[in-house]
């Protein structure tokens, strides 16, 4: 039996409490935005998921670099865990973005820079799993996975800037002319900051749990051999 980790348990509880607290704040304490109404409340978790996804891919690249420097598999577990968790947050950001876009822009999908970059990012990191799956040894998976995670993180800002620049030249014509721009009241700010913090803690908890799972799987595989 693997030993219990009280710190991890505490982090899990903190993450759950944080997300629940943020949800209560968003539902009951924030005002409804004048133009967009209730759907604007998607914004809090939408931006927080996008932030968590972005952060996890940066962590993955950092962990990959550490693996290449130290050659300890635990850095690879961290890198793998971050990418897996990051993909889920990226998906949450895309789906919540679509839910927001539908009533405001009257379409489920717009080729908007942030949304498009997130979608490309998902494709980039899905390929990471195909790459790992096609490699035979944990060492090769770790080494080439690290290289790929580092190269990927370099291109994400390039993708964002190129799409943004593209859109300033060829602006999207929105069907209903709506805009997601709005001014945030102090209460909105509070809920936003709490959401960001809660998702950051959630991200840490998920990555930690997933890293621990990888460590246990690796120990298990060694026992069987």
């Amino acid at each position: 039996m693997p030993k219990k980790q009280p710190l991890l348990t505490a982090l899990n509880i903190l993450a759950a409490a944080g997300v629940l607290g943020a949800l209560i704040l968003i539902l009951f304490f924030t005002p409804e935005e004048a133009q967009m109404g209730a759907v604007q409340k998607v914004f809090y978790f939408h931006v927080s998921s996008a932030w968590a996804g972005m952060l996890s891919f940066v962590i993955a690249a950092g962990a990959g670099a550490l693996y290449l420097a130290k050659r300890e598999l635990r850095w690879d577990w961290l890198s793998l865990a971050s990418i897996e968790v990051g993909i889920m947050f990226g998906l949450a950001a895309i789906l919540s973005g679509m839910i927001w876009a539908q009533p405001i822009w009257n379409t489920w999908w717009v080729w908007e820079p942030r949304l498009t970059t997130t979608a490309i990012m998902e494709l980039i990191y899905l390929a990471y799993f195909i790459l790992r799956g096609a490699l035979n040894t944990p060492e090769a998976q770790a080494r080439l996975g690290a290289v790929y995670a580092i190269v990927s993180v370099i291109t994400v800002p390039l993708t964002f800037f190129s799409i943004r620049l593209y859109r300033t030249i060829h602006p999207v014509v929105f069907v209903s002319g709506g805009s997601t721009a709005f001014t945030m009241s102090p209460r909105m700010w509070t809920a936003f900051i709490v959401s960001l913090a809660a998702f950051t803690v959630l991200l840490a908890a998920l990555i930690w749990n997933r890293t621990r799972l990888a460590a246990l799987q690796s120990a298990n595989a060694q026992e069987e051999n």
Binding site: A127, L131, A134, L144, V147, T155, L158, S162, L165
Partner: protein, 227 residues
């Protein structure tokens, strides 16, 4: 200083060797060229293109066929070294392995650029638009430089997998997207008669990509080939 000149010599030798293999076997470049032309024909009918094509469409078509065709060349450039243990010989050379990366990038760039030089008059003929424009050639060189340096890096990665070369497009296309956007936009601007100064942001993006991917190759290629 001696070390650096050894390094440069290694880059040159890898480049020369690749050209020599291609010259004697002629197995890469013709395939790339015919494939690029086939893509043009395919897209012509798939998208119902007309001879008097807009600058934007012509630029897009040019880059799509270049991007697809160069994947073939990139895969061939690394799979070549797998035959008869040629890679082992390369790895024995007493210089940093990133020299192999620069040599291969250079040869891949040369092959893809030659394909582009053939496509330009063909496009001019098919779509009644003069594409033999020195500024367009400059844009193509910048775009292909970034594309092939990233491609060489990823081809060396994908060739080590069980699926071998099948994986390259899946790794390369999403990562090369900013390069392709910038290259298409800059080419479109040039064809529409815009001066290069107006396309500065796209050109800067291409130059930055070149630098970043070459630096990534310099730092990471040794790790990719390690066994």
């Amino acid at each position: 200083m001696n070390g650096f000149s050894n390094y440069l010599r290694m880059v040159w030798q890898v480049f020369r060797k690749d050209l020599q293999v291609e010259w004697r076997g002629r197995q890469g470049l013709p395939v790339m060229l015919i494939f690029a032309l086939l893509v043009v024909f395919l897209f012509n009918f798939a998208l119902q293109l007309t001879p008097g094509l807009q600058a934007g469409l012509a630029a897009g078509l040019l880059w799509v066929s270049l991007a697809f065709a160069s994947t073939l060349g990139l895969n061939r450039s690394v799979s070549l070294e797998g035959e008869n243990n040629a890679l082992a010989g390369l790895l024995l050379a007493p210089v940093d392995r990133s020299a192999i990366f620069f040599g291969k990038t250079l040869s891949n760039l040369t092959f893809t650029f030659l394909v582009a030089l053939v496509l330009l008059p063909v496009f001019s003929l098919f779509y009644q638009q003069n594409m033999l424009n020195p500024r367009l050639v400059l844009v193509i060189l910048l775009g292909l430089g970034a594309y092939t340096s990233l491609g060489t890096l990823l081809a060396a990665l994908s060739i080590q997998t069980r699926t071998r070369d099948v994986l390259l497009p899946v790794l390369l296309y999403p990562l090369a997207l900013p390069v392709l956007i910038a290259a298409v936009e800059a080419s479109r601007g040039v064809l529409a008669g815009q001066p290069l100064a107006e396309l500065q942001s796209w050109l800067s993006l291409l130059i930055a990509s070149n630098i970043l991917f070459l630096a990534a190759g310099l730092l990471l290629f040794d790790t990719i080939l390690e066994e």
